[in-house]
Symmetry: C2
Subunit: 168 residues, 2 copies
């Protein structure tokens, strides 16, 4: 059962888990992929609830996000998904089918065409309302040196949260 | 007394109140100002806790943020500060001294030189690690038409949260 919650209801728990990993799922044309994210933000911008995710140019997910304006974020809460998060954070769809490899279930979402990861408890369905490639010139020098020495910058995708719920 | 909390501890309550208003305080050189914000986000990016605020070019606060890399966000929780938020959201420092007009107390922060609003309970002290002017071309058309018809875009300031606490 999918129990609707306010977009901010579980923000504390989501941010707690995000540092350990959550799943960003994207479907562009008929291709689907999920990847582990450890960064992101939740907020209220343009009078809308917004989930922001950051995807590097090098990612297959970046290619998919050029073909769609949707994404979902699936967050494990009580369930231990360390192994799945590790695989989906290091392997590329270009090499393996992560859903098969990790026994992940792509389940139908509520408000978007992009599936959610059925094994997780907390879900956000989002429609991109704004995106922007990072501007190299204005990043703190320490961050630039430690995270972007190879110039593989992030594109920031701001998705309106059109559904948020707990899967019980 | 200032009681430290984890950056995400009160995120649900902060986002709840943000829609009704919070105070963004900035001090550049020897000039100080506070303004009401209704938008923003909290997250974990670049391995850091981040508070993102959006300030339009037309704002005096924008000018100040060009002179400093710090800001604070002060959030009323139980206290009714509707009147103060209304004034600080509609008047400019160019016209009135908001601290005097609203009886707001600029109190010393913990980790930055920028003061906090002493009347509020929840506080975030931030150091800007990234900023970026919005890119007009990639905004959702409805948002662009309703929020930016005059091209007064926001600059997005991503501040590392260097202190977060409740004032008791």
């Amino acid at each position: 059962m999918l129990k609707d919650i306010a977009y901010n209801e579980m923000s504390k728990e989501m941010l707690e888990q995000l540092q350990k990993g959550a799943f960003l799922t994207v479907k562009g044309n008929d291709e689907m992929n999920t990847m582990t994210i450890g960064w992101g933000s939740i907020g209220f911008i343009w009078n809308k609830p917004i989930f922001m995710v950051a995807v590097r140019y090098s990612r297959y997910t970046y290619e998919l996000l050029e073909k769609t304006d949707e994404f979902t974020v699936s967050v494990p809460l009580s369930k231990d998904m360390k192994k799945e998060l590790a695989i989906c954070g290091t392997k590329s769809k270009r090499e393996i089918d992560k859903f098969k490899e990790c026994n992940l279930t792509a389940e139908k979402g509520k408000a978007v065409d992009t599936p959610i990861i059925g094994e997780c408890e907390l879900h956000y369905e989002c429609k991109v309302v704004y995106k922007q490639a990072m501007e190299p010139g204005t990043i703190d020098k320490n961050i630039r040196d430690s995270k972007y020495s190879n110039n593989d910058f992030h594109v920031l995708y701001y998705g309106e949260i059109v559904a948020s719920y707990i899967k019980e």
